[in-house]
Each structure stands twice: as C-alpha cells, then as structure tokens.
Symmetry: D2
Amino acid sequence: MAGNSIGQLFRVTTFGESHGIAIGGVIDGCPPGLALHESDMQGDLDRRKPGTSRYTTARREGDEVQILSGVFEGVTTGTSIGLVIQNTDQRSQDYSKIADRFRPGHADYTYQQKYGTRDYRGGGRSSARETAIRVAAGAIAKKYLKQEFGIEIVGYLSQLGPISMALEAPDSINDNPFFCPEPGKLEALDAYMRDLKKSGDSVGAQVSVYATNVPVGLGEPVFDRLDADIAHAMMGINAVKGVEIGDGFGVIEQLGSEHRDTLTPDGFETNHSGGVLGGISTGQPITVNMALKPTSSISVPGKTITVEGKETDIVTKGRHDPCVGIRAVPIAEAMLAIVLMDHCLRHRAQNAQVQSPTPTIPGQVGQS
Amino acid sequence: MAGNSIGQLFRVTTFGESHGIAIGGVIDGCPPGLALHESDMQGDLDRRKPGTSRYTTARREGDEVQILSGVFEGVTTGTSIGLVIQNTDQRSQDYSKIADRFRPGHADYTYQQKYGTRDYRGGGRSSARETAIRVAAGAIAKKYLKQEFGIEIVGYLSQLGPISMALEAPDSINDNPFFCPEPGKLEALDAYMRDLKKSGDSVGAQVSVYATNVPVGLGEPVFDRLDADIAHAMMGINAVKGVEIGDGFGVIEQLGSEHRDTLTPDGFETNHSGGVLGGISTGQPITVNMALKPTSSISVPGKTITVEGKETDIVTKGRHDPCVGIRAVPIAEAMLAIVLMDHCLRHRAQNAQVQSPTPTIPGQVGQS
Amino acid sequence: MAGNSIGQLFRVTTFGESHGIAIGGVIDGCPPGLALHESDMQGDLDRRKPGTSRYTTARREGDEVQILSGVFEGVTTGTSIGLVIQNTDQRSQDYSKIADRFRPGHADYTYQQKYGTRDYRGGGRSSARETAIRVAAGAIAKKYLKQEFGIEIVGYLSQLGPISMALEAPDSINDNPFFCPEPGKLEALDAYMRDLKKSGDSVGAQVSVYATNVPVGLGEPVFDRLDADIAHAMMGINAVKGVEIGDGFGVIEQLGSEHRDTLTPDGFETNHSGGVLGGISTGQPITVNMALKPTSSISVPGKTITVEGKETDIVTKGRHDPCVGIRAVPIAEAMLAIVLMDHCLRHRAQNAQVQSPTPTIPGQVGQS
Amino acid sequence: MAGNSIGQLFRVTTFGESHGIAIGGVIDGCPPGLALHESDMQGDLDRRKPGTSRYTTARREGDEVQILSGVFEGVTTGTSIGLVIQNTDQRSQDYSKIADRFRPGHADYTYQQKYGTRDYRGGGRSSARETAIRVAAGAIAKKYLKQEFGIEIVGYLSQLGPISMALEAPDSINDNPFFCPEPGKLEALDAYMRDLKKSGDSVGAQVSVYATNVPVGLGEPVFDRLDADIAHAMMGINAVKGVEIGDGFGVIEQLGSEHRDTLTPDGFETNHSGGVLGGISTGQPITVNMALKPTSSISVPGKTITVEGKETDIVTKGRHDPCVGIRAVPIAEAMLAIVLMDHCLRHRAQNAQVQSPTPTIPGQVGQS
C-alpha cells in the first residue's frame, strides 16, 4: 500500500506512468519565502531528460514542468507545491508486444505478481520516467539548501563498465554527455559506447555524488540516521544495487588505525567516513557512491515466459539507454538534496544553531 | 528530533544508553496469537552478546530480556510489547578519561555538536549496545515469519580483513565464534585475530545475510521499495558503510545480457537481482551484503582534540571488539527480519493472496 | 512543515489554492483491481460544487476531475492515483481589496503570521475549494468500501441555525438542496435562508454522518483509535469547531446504567457508543456529528486591521455561502470514507478475518 | 497494527496493561538540554493516580515513574527517554469473573473481536491505567513549553452530571479533589457523588483545558491542523465522546456577525475561535472542552453475553471511579501539552521566528 512518498518534514509524493497522460507530484514542506519559478527546475530536468545525446534513449520529451500551486507572486507560500509534466512522446505502439510477456530484469513480473495487473506500456510506474519529478523536487531542495546554508551538491559518473573516472575536473562534469569528471577519458567512453550500441547490449555504471558545506549535526539516530536515509533514497533509484558512504566496501580490509579520521584543531585530517559518524553529519563533505545495473532492455535476444507461464523469446526493440547510469547522475543529486533538505528541517526543529561545516584538511572530495 | 523508530506496521522503537540503567524498546504491530516467551529472543541475544569468545569485547552482559506487556498467557495479544534489558556490567570508571575528548572514528564529536551534550560513558546512545533490542525485536519477527510464511533468515561473516569466506556450510555458521560459513578458513581467522589483538588494532569485515521462502510481491514502490528499506535498515547498523543487494557493485562491469535473470516456466535461472526487481520481491532468496568499518576503539595511540578544541592524545583502553563485524551477524539478521515483517504486513493490507516464492533454478543462495 | 497528507495505508495528499491554476492530489494505497472512472467521483463532486442552488455561493466551477495516473484499462493498478481539477471561475479581481487587510474569522491573519506571506485570493490554500479533492478521494474510498465490505456512508444536515432536522427520510436527503433528511422542514429552511441572505449575515450548522455495515475490529489503540482518527479528520474540515461520536456531549448528564449498550445474543440493544468502544468499531453503525461555524464572509460591515496593524473597515463582497454547513455534507462523508478505508486496510494487515457487523437491535441510525 | 505512538517530532509511544508487570513508554524527540528528573513528572502523576480521594477508585498505585535513558547528569541529551512504572496493586483475582463475559460499555467485546484474544484483567490494554505514561510524557512537554515559550496549560472539571462549574477561581482547581474551578459548587459535588456511590451508578462529565501564551503560527494545514491534532489527541482519551474547540457546538446557532472575532490594533476583541483559525494558532488562548461518558463499571446489575455469545448477567464489583471524568483532567492537560510540543517543534523547522501570542482584549479564558 501507500509507498509513493519520501521525507518527513520535506515530503515528496509522486504519481505517473511512463505512457500515461502526465507525471506529477506534490512537494510538501518547502519553507515559505523561496523565490521559485519553473526555470529553477528546468535545468536539472534537461540534464536528465532523454533524447539529448546519442548515448541515451531516442525518446523525446520536453519534460516541461508546470507549478500548479504553492507559489504566489514568484515566491513559495509554505503550502504544498503541485507539479505536473505532460507526457508527449508516448508511442504506445512500441510496447504492445510486451503486454503478454515479462521482460527479464525488469519489474514486469513483480508488478504483475504483486498487483495482479500492470500498466505494461513502457514499464508503467516502474519506468525511470517517474524520476523526472524527483529531479524537479530535488531542484527545489538544492535551491533552498544553497541559499540558506551554502550547501552544494555535485554528481558525476565515476565508472562506466570497465572505464573508471577520477574527480579531476569537477567544473567540466556538465560539459560532456557522460557527466564525466576526467576529460581524458572522454574518447574511451565514446568508443566504448559506440561498440556497445552496435552489439545491442547494455552495461552497468557507478555514479558518485557529494555535498559540500553540509552543517554539522544532521541526522536523527538511531534509525533515522543521515547515512541510513541516504542509503534508502539511493537504493530507491531505479537500477541501483549498491550504495556506499565514504570508503564504503573499501573499509573491509582497512585497519582501525587507517580508517579513523583524525580530528585536529583545524578540522579532520581525512574523510574516510564520508562525512557521517554515528549517523550524524560531521561537517565534512558527504560522499556517496552507487552501483547501477545495466538496463535490461537490450536487443540481444533472450528467453522469458509469458503471463501464462509459457516459455517464449524476447527482444526489446524500444528506445532505451545502453547505460542507464549516465542519466542517473542528476537523479542521484536530487535524492541527496531531498534527504539533506529533510534533515536540515528536522535538525532545525531542535532549535539547533545550524553550525558551520568542519574543514577537511586535505580539502578534497572523493579522496579519503 | 524523533528518530528512534523503524517500520510502519511492524514498528520497533528503542531507548537506552551503553551505561545507563537499562536498554529497552517497544514492538508495536506484532499480530495477536503468536506464542512468545523471553526464551524466543534469548538465543539470538546470546549470539550477539559480548564476552562469549576471546575475539569479542570482555564486557560481560547477561542480556536477559524481560517482556513487560503485550503477551498474555504465553501469546501475543496484538498490543504493544514492552521489552527491557538491565545493564549490569557498566564499569563507568573505564570511560572517565574520554569525557573531555573526542575518540576519532566514533560518534563523540557528532553527538556533542548536534546536541550540545552527550552521555560519554561507553559511547552512550551511539554504542552498539542498543542493538540488543533490535536483536530481540528481530527474533519476534523471525518467529512470525517462519511460522506464517516459512521464511528463513541466515547471516554469516563473508569477509574479515583480507580473508574471504564462501557459503559452503550454512549449517556450521553457528558452530564457531566467527559465524564463518567455510570451515576451512577457521584456522586462518583464528591466527589473524590473534595477531590483530597483539597489535592493538582492529579490522573491517563484510557480513552477508539472506532470506529464503520470501513471498513474491513484498515492497511498496516507488519509495518504500523493499530494497530501499533494506538499505535503510542495514546502513542504520553501527559501523556499516556500504550495502549491496544481489550482485551489488559487481553490476558495474556487467553487460545487460549477463545480468538479466532469465525467467523459465520452472523459475528464474539465476539470481543476480538478489530477489528484488523494481523494488518488489521476486520470490527468490533476498541476498544482502554489508561492509563494516574497523572499530575505532583501538589501543594504537592516536591524536584528537578535546571538547574545547585543543590537540591531545588518545588511547582507547576499554574492552572492545577488534572486529565489530563478527557480532553484527545477528544484528543484520534481525534488521532483515524487521523489514520483511513490516512488508509482509503491508502487502497483506492490499488483501493479496500471499504467494509462494519463485524457485531459482540453480537453487544456491549467495551465488548468482 | 509537511501537513497536507492524511492516512497511513490509504493516504491522500492535496495541493492547490482557491484561485490558482488548479487543485489536485495524490491518492496512494488504493488497492489494485478497482474499476475506476472519473464519473465515479463526479457525482459527489457535483453535490459539493458551488453554484448549484441559490443557497450557496454563485461561483461557478465545473469541478471536473481528471485522473492522470494509477488507472489502466479502466481499473486501478495499485500505483498512486494523480487527480487534478482546473480552476475556471477565479475572478481574482473580486479579492484585490482584501490583500491588505485580514478578514475576521478567516485564516488570513494566521497564514500571514505563520508563513510571512499568503495567497490572499479567495483565501488561497485555506479556502474550502481544496476540499473538492477530498471529496474525489472519498468517492474512491466509498466505492471500494461498498464493493468490498458493503459499507454505506450517509451524510445529512441535522441542524441549520435554530432549525433542527430528524433523520426521518434518508432516501430524500439528496433530493433537496439542503441535504435535509426531514422533508417537513424544507419550507422553514427556505424561509430562513431567504431572510438570512437579505440580512447579509450567515449562520452555523450541524452536519451528521453515519456508516453502516462497518466490520467489527477497525481501529488501532491506543492512539490510532478509530474514533480519534475520525475526530482528526472531521475537525480538519474547514469551519468545524466540534465533533461528537455516538451520544457525544449528551453523555455528560447520563448515568452509567443509561449509557452502556447492552449486548444480547442478537446484537446490541442500543448504540449510545456510536459504534466505537475502546477505539475499535463494534460493528454497529458509526455515528458522528459535527458543528460548523457560520462563514465569516458576510456583507454586514465589520472592523479589522490591515497587514500593517492599523484599524480599518471590512465588508466581504465576494460570492459566499450563507451557511457553509450545507456543502460540508459530502465533505464529511468523504472524510469518514477516507478514515474507514485506511482502517480497513490496516486491520487487514493483521490478517484478520474481516467480520460481519454486529446488529443494533432497534436498528436505527442516529438514535440511541 | 502499530498504533501506540502519537506525534511526529515529539513522539510518545506507550506499552502496558492494567495488570501486567509494568507500564511504560518512550518519549522521542525531546530537545537536549532540558533539566529533567522523575520529580518533574511525579506531581502530575499524583494528580491522576487512583486512591487519593473517596471519589475515585480505591486501587492504590504509587505510580512512581523511573527514567531509564535519555537523561545524563540531570539533563536531557536529545536521545529517546525510556520510562517505566511498575504495577503494584494488581489484585488479579478481582477480575477472574469477567474472563468469560463482555462488560457492556467496555472494550472487552471489541478487543476480543479484533484480536481474537484479550488480557481481560482489569481491561488489559484498554484500561485507563495506560494514561499514566501519557501524563508523564505530558509533564515533560509542559516543562519544556513553559520554559521555552512561557506556555501554561490548565485543565479543570467544567461539568459533572447536572452540575456545571464556571472558571471562577483557576488558582483553586488543584485544591480540591474534583479539579473544580468554582468553589461554591464543592458542596453540591460532594453531595451528588455520595448519592451516586450509594446508588452504585456512575455519571458523565465535561473536562475543559486551555493553554495560554501559545505562539502564533502553530499547525500545519490542511490535514495536520492544530485543531485537528487536538481533536485526535482528546478523542483518544478513554471515555471521551465529544471534543469542542472554542465555542464548539455553540456555533450552530450563531450568526457570522456574532461569531467572528474582531481584530483590533490591540489584539482580538473576543475568542470564539478558541485560539485556532484555519488550523493555525492565533496567539489567543487555546480552549478545549471534552465530554466523558460515565464509567461502565457499575454495581447496578445488567445483562450481557458470554464469550460464547450466550446471555448472562453482570455486576462489576471491581474498584472503579464513579466519575472517570475527574481523573481525566491531568490526562487532558497532558495530551494538549504533547500536541503543542509537537507543533512547536514542527513550526520551528520552518525556521519561523516564534512569535509572541496575540492578546485577547477581555483577557478571559473560557469566555468568548
């Protein structure tokens, strides 16, 4: 039952299917007094939207968001913000062939089993199309976080299949269609993707996201910990199968004497913790990695079963991303923004002086 | 503010500090009619409790749980279950030296910054001592899940520092102090831990947990997804820095043609997904890995700052686990049980026929 | 912060202002498989909508609801249902005069103080226009409750100013513009309302609502009691200042020997309790009364202060209901339906056999 | 399922049955830095506890609350506060006769039907004994509200059966066993209660509670309105059948020109609204009335049915309050405190300047 909301004080509720009339949502709990216009969201929506490069699906959606409420004379009023994006390029005919069978790796089977029915057009509710509203909501959170606390949130592609990328040039991330932070890898990425498209296959990816200028003290242990809520939000992004904070799985082989971040009068010497200790932000950058599986919609033929349980073949002919990880970058940013926004409001309820972040001495995000 | 509850229909709320009078909690939403006695929880509490082997802290706690309410004539009544465990071996004097300084890697600094005060005795609320109540709650969930649905939950240590272990002998997991599923590694583990203790250092670990006989259809997309809620619960365990479902970070370098689990009339051919597709259980085993950082309480001397921000030295002399990952095994099982319990109840609200799980043809958990 | 949602498993979230582009909402948790079309909601929307009789405001709104998601091939899919109603007859010019002053009895002052700003057009978010979405959500709940459990929900006007009405002819309630259940009072109501309109004043009212065929066992003590949740939902309707269950304030002068409803092998002899004991439904009809204050928008001149705090005059010239209680009848039904729907789902989570209601021997609703 | 918590940021969860080992609860979200000792709660617990006068039940409970966590060195730490009160005077033998039959007017029947079982000893979970923990939680809220905002909360008995009492002498409320605010009525009350006890019957009552110095702006429309949450909390008190805010049911016969509270540069001229407009506090006193039914445990013989549905007789011989309304006074205060506390924290999350209350010119609470 009801599961389409996230957040407690800043709460985002979404609706909409891939090929329905529209997708939309309600942003509840945005403080009053924030200047807000559709254009504040459009930038991130455009970064996520399909059809912008040859590396992503050819589906063309303007993804133009409309604010239906909660803003008066250009400023939020503190009431709930209704958002809607019309679906324009639905092409339902593309999907008629999948009504009777389950695409492996997709949610077709689980939705059908859970609900006894499903909107099979383009994955219906399980399509990543729904994440456009998350991106819009995240843009509102980003604007508030930046303005009120100076928090900045940056996402990038840190690995695509076998090609890993270092955070060398954060300023160049949005200048290329891969959200690649290491310009020297662009050629290899391009070559890899061309070959991949030719093969009709898809590949996994790792997306990283970090936030700087995060106040000390966010997070409500022992269950509503900041890291737990980040893990929840990230694992809730379509295709994500793993989440790390700070050193993540790297800690398994570390010694305590290596891992612990030494505190000095000038700040922390390292940031192995990824900015969270005991579920509460340390004031250092929050660093998060997530693993995204390869999209299951590929033109490599496969086997599956029909709705009646009979064996059959499947070839997905639709317009799909050969690497869904790429477009997940703005989604990851949005989800981190939504979680931080909720926790900033929750922390403020305690009447805490919101405190300046704690410096990390080497000062580098993404390194520990 | 309020953050000490987890779950919606099966809701666990905990209280208590490491060296307070007692720890305890409330289990709300346990269906009526379940035979329940303290002894149903004691087994898992004993698996978690300190002082049982030379590989864990020497603190001795009976960890005897008492049921204060919600059970009448040996059976749950559907009302809230109050639990309490007295703290017996507090030795507060051990901790007096840390009142004025922040132990690096611990939550001392963040609690102090967030709340302006902290119970410094043994980490106070941030101590893993609190997880005893989670284990008790998880034992209730486990009993119900087993009885009502046949669900079984098994946790084990899959890596300790450099030593990785395969799930060779699930039946032997509880026969050794490491929750090691590969008997051939016991000697190496023992040797490694002896050396580690001598060095005064600590090491990270990976814990794995899986559930079998999970009904199809658990999870409430798009935010209260089963995988998202599992990630939330696991990242909320002390010291956890990473969570994977199914192939986890392994998906980054996979191709779509490799990753997708083929459906056949007899079930799934593989379980790369870890039993969750689109946030909903597939009926295959749910498989989860988590990375735990090395405990920060080590006798290797280090530097830190005082509460006043001045540089100082630190040596943690308390009784600590050189690898907190070991005792995290029953905690991970408990958290998975709590999440599954909540989602079984939520799914039932839809009036769904709870459906038999879907076989995975190779039938092996922990392999994909 | 976030406060625009109601319900836990059947959760309704609304947005929209009186004179914004549109109002709308998300219905989350509607079980799959329910045949649903806009026309299922339109009947109740038409009962609530303005401009249908000379006794209500002259504002003309089609109140045509559009389903944006959650329904596929005419049937709910279990995913969130997006609803939107365009605002068509806004006439913002009517309200320009009230931008600089607080209408007494309205929420102008409190919204301005709380948020530091407000959408002053027609009351903005505090306008009862928002309740159209509650009515639409309630219609979905009503349909499900009727189909699945046989529950029927009936509301009526039980008092208008000095004129009280008995539940004599439930079938005639929707045949007159007052939702009056006692046809003999129609003439008096008409005469009273004509005089009231002439005087430019408004008057209070009492609305009653009951549900029959309610299963035994709904309600989750001790806080999420059925009666507590009904009180919450009813007091949350604009202008409501009092709520009663069963005999309500009549119990003050009752003796225990009078009040207690005797149980017999054939059912309860009376229904003083209004169908709830200990916060749980008895299976008898749920009976609720609520008191609605007179609308504060009247043409009788009054005094107030400006936004700057200076004394000024006020005459509300807009198009207003001289008795807001009349149109509150379908809203009260909707809120009761939403609460019962949520509790039916919550009760089902316990895996309870949903049990037939318990007869009340005299069999009469609204009498005790 | 789970329903034993109230509040969002200040969340109270309770457990315990009338004749179990202990009752208790968790207070989550209390801000750090509040000086807190058991004695801060004991005063209100003593006001509620049984056995203090001949007008209440003869059961003797010390009702000594113990703080198990969340307080360190006399000050709250921001972590969850565990509370427990041992049951001492259980006398289970008194109740053995009611195991097989349903006491009319009690929750015996509904608990049995809902859960398929019940703790029949003294009403089990449905007993008002559980409210002791609410009173303890409320005392914490009261202390914080008073210290931080200057809010004062006062409850009193405003009617007992046919005897109504005016708020003449607020200072004398706690000097008499009836919480009577009109000393001239004490003799009549005493006489009435003597006769009532002789007759073996019980009677209903009205309790009133008000809060002064409430900041402007509390409440989160449109569903988490302050008045809606107050109604929820009050209707959730055992035996309450009706709740009013401000003029309550008196508004039915009022004209708009009478009801609207005129705003002047010096404050409101009247307080018909009871301190809430549009679901948000006005800064005037919050005034609430509630109706409590006569206790159903009386020695007047009656009829009922057995658990098997057969007709039988019933005489309740236990130790019971002939008017449960009397002891409900501190409970009503506690619930109002809990709601105000939650809303103060929620409002603060918006980063609102908490604003001084707005004067009511006549300055009198309980008058409009």
